[in-house]
Amino acid sequence: MASLTRNPFTRAPKSEPILGQNRIVAHFLAFLTWIIGLLFFFPLFWLVLNGFKEESVANASPVLFFDPTLDRFSEVTESNSGLLSFTEAFGNSFWIVLISTVLVMVLAVPAAYALAIRPMRMWRDVLFFFISTKFLPIVGAIMPLWIIARDLDLLGTRTVLVILYTAMNLPLAVWMLRSFFAEVPKELIEAAQIDGCSLMGQIRQVILPIVAPGLAATALLCVIFAWNEFFLAVQLNPTGASTIPVWVNSQQKFQGQFLAGLSAASVLATLPVVIAGWVAQKRMIRGLAMGAIK
């Protein structure tokens, strides 16, 4: 009968113990993971540290302890030595990324709806066509793009980047959103139909609330890809209407010997993406996992 009363001193373990041989393997793998993680993280860490150093300190042999300063950040943001100032570049990037992402979503949602929920004949081919546009290396397409942009008088404008970033992210967004839409149970849409809901009503009131995490994940990826894009920006718009990556690059040209200043510029370019990723981490993982099921 004694066995029926529970020993008050035993507690549920935090995690299941791993037994025998596997335990050594598990510890080794955990160790390896840390090493690899740190290896990946180190260059970024070094970059951030350098951003807070004096130039003389940054160029000397690496030290861990130094007097941090924000001077490099104010220098690069106030510098007018490049093609465009930091504020200009940031504003350009902001608007180009925002408008292109909104356009992508507005175009991709109906396309994904059609592909997932009302597939026409050959929808697989259509889907393949979308992704196949990403097969072509962008260097192979830059010449015709440049000529078209020139003839349309779009070289050096924000418009050309908005158009190209929309086109660049659209296949990915359609592809991702389709898998999110395909997750929506067919019966829900049928129930909405029977309940007298119009087509737009079904999308707005029933489908979109369900796929919201997926929409957020998709939009965030589009933002990140557009924010980071460099090649098209530098080829078609290397001037005052260009974006943050081009600005960092121009800092490189003019401040080549100034390691700390360049580090500060790079940190500024990376920061918005890191923050966006951090904020949206949970949603994004949920969204990406949601799509992965199908």
Binding site: E187, E190, G196, I210
Partner: protein, 359 residues
């Protein structure tokens, strides 16, 4: 309130040859609870979805209240449907789910609230109106799905296996509640299930489908006592009817060498039918264990408390044949006993093509 009529309605899915529903003719009276029953894949859901407007009708027509709705979209049919997985809108609360159709129909807000509250009262859902579906139990979700249907006060309720996701006990309880609710509301209802017990207990009439073809529509009692063919005989009833292939030798039919007795009218009907291989069906309650009759050995005893079902292994036409016999009260039989089985009651005889032989 409404009558429903299928007229030679067929559904052939794209890329398939055989119709999933084959020329269905069915009349459903105003206020009736008609159950569509059949094995999995027999076309029950398809038939229901044709009435809902979710599935295109390839041939024939469907009428609601003498209006041809064959080509009308679901929203113009004034029907409500309860899905097997309930299909509750996950982003809406219970109240919003139930009021959704009314909102679409632009019913004023206060009227909507009264109607939702009324439905919630009937179904005992009042404490849950502000919850999201994911925070409800299976039984509560089922009620919300019901509530969403009754709030609308539609012409017809359509239900596709609405109880199959509930556990056995709740299913039995809910099925009586549902039948009672339907009777009180008096709304014409088409109810799909693969469970023949559910069909028999709930249906005013039951339509048996097999392979997309309607086999029989009748009241449960008729279906049980006068199945029109061998399929219905074997499908309806639990445990199933004993069905044996028999050869007609010089005008008599026999089970395990025991000649069967028929009244003169039946005997002449059997004689008049074509083909020599027939089948005979006899329900377990029409067989008894006794001291003479068909000899056999007990293999299984299913003890149900008030009665038990005894499986008796006999030799019939040179091969093994199990007969299930109902033994009332506390059975004295155990596995391995040598027993004799007697026939006392209705025998069903089916011709070579499976059709019932009638007098």
């Amino acid at each position: 309130m409404a009558e429903v009529r299928y007229e030679a309605a067929s559904r052939i899915y794209p890329g398939t040859e055989i119709p999933a529903v084959n020329s269905l003719d069915l009349d459903i009276a105003d206020g009736e609870l008609l159950v569509l029953v059949g094995p999995s894949g027999s076309g029950k859901s398809t038939a229901l979805r044709m009435l809902a407007g979710l599935e295109h009708v390839n041939e024939g027509s469907v009428y609601i209240n003498d209006v041809d709705v064959t080509l009308k979209p679901p929203q113009d049919r004034d029907i409500a449907m309860v899905f097997q997985n309930y299909a509750l809108y996950p982003s809406m609360t219970v109240g919003e789910n139930m009021g959704f159709a009314l909102k679409q129909a632009k019913v004023p807000k206060h009227e909507r609230a009264t109607r939702v509250a009324e439905a919630a009262r009937i179904l005992g859902l009042e404490p849950y109106l502000d919850r999201k579906p994911k925070n409800l139990s299976g039984g509560q979700r089922q009620r919300v799905a019901m509530g969403r249907a009754i709030v609308r006060n539609p012409q017809v309720f359509l239900m596709d296996e609405p109880l199959s996701n509930l556990d056995a006990k709740l299913r039995v309880q809910t099925r009586t509640e549902l039948a009672d609710l339907q009777a009180r509301l008096g709304v014409t209802t088409v109810y799909v299930t693969h469970d023949q017990v559910e069909a028999m207990t709930m249906g005013h009439r039951v339509a048996v489908l097999d392979g997309g073809i309607l086999q029989q529509v009748d009241r449960p009692r008729t279906l049980y006592s006068e199945p029109v063919n061998r399929f219905v005989a074997g499908f309806i009833g639990s445990p199933a009817m004993n069905l044996l292939d028999v050869k007609r030798t010089d005008g008599t039919l026999s089970i395990s060498g025991q000649p069967l007795e028929f009244d003169p009218a039946m005997a002449s009907a059997i004689n008049a039918s074509h083909g020599s291989s027939m089948s005979v069906g006899v329900r377990p309650e029409h067989l008894t264990l006794q001291s003479t009759g068909i000899a056999g050995e007990v293999t299984v005893v299913e003890e149900l408390g008030s009665e038990s079902y005894v499986h008796v292994l006999t030799q019939h036409q040179g091969s093994d044949q199990i007969l299930v016999v109902r033994d009332q009260g506390e059975t004295q039989t155990t596995r391995g006993d040598q027993v004799h089985v007697g026939v006392h009651g209705a025998l069903h005889v089916f011709a070579e093509d499976g059709e019932r032989i009638r007098t």
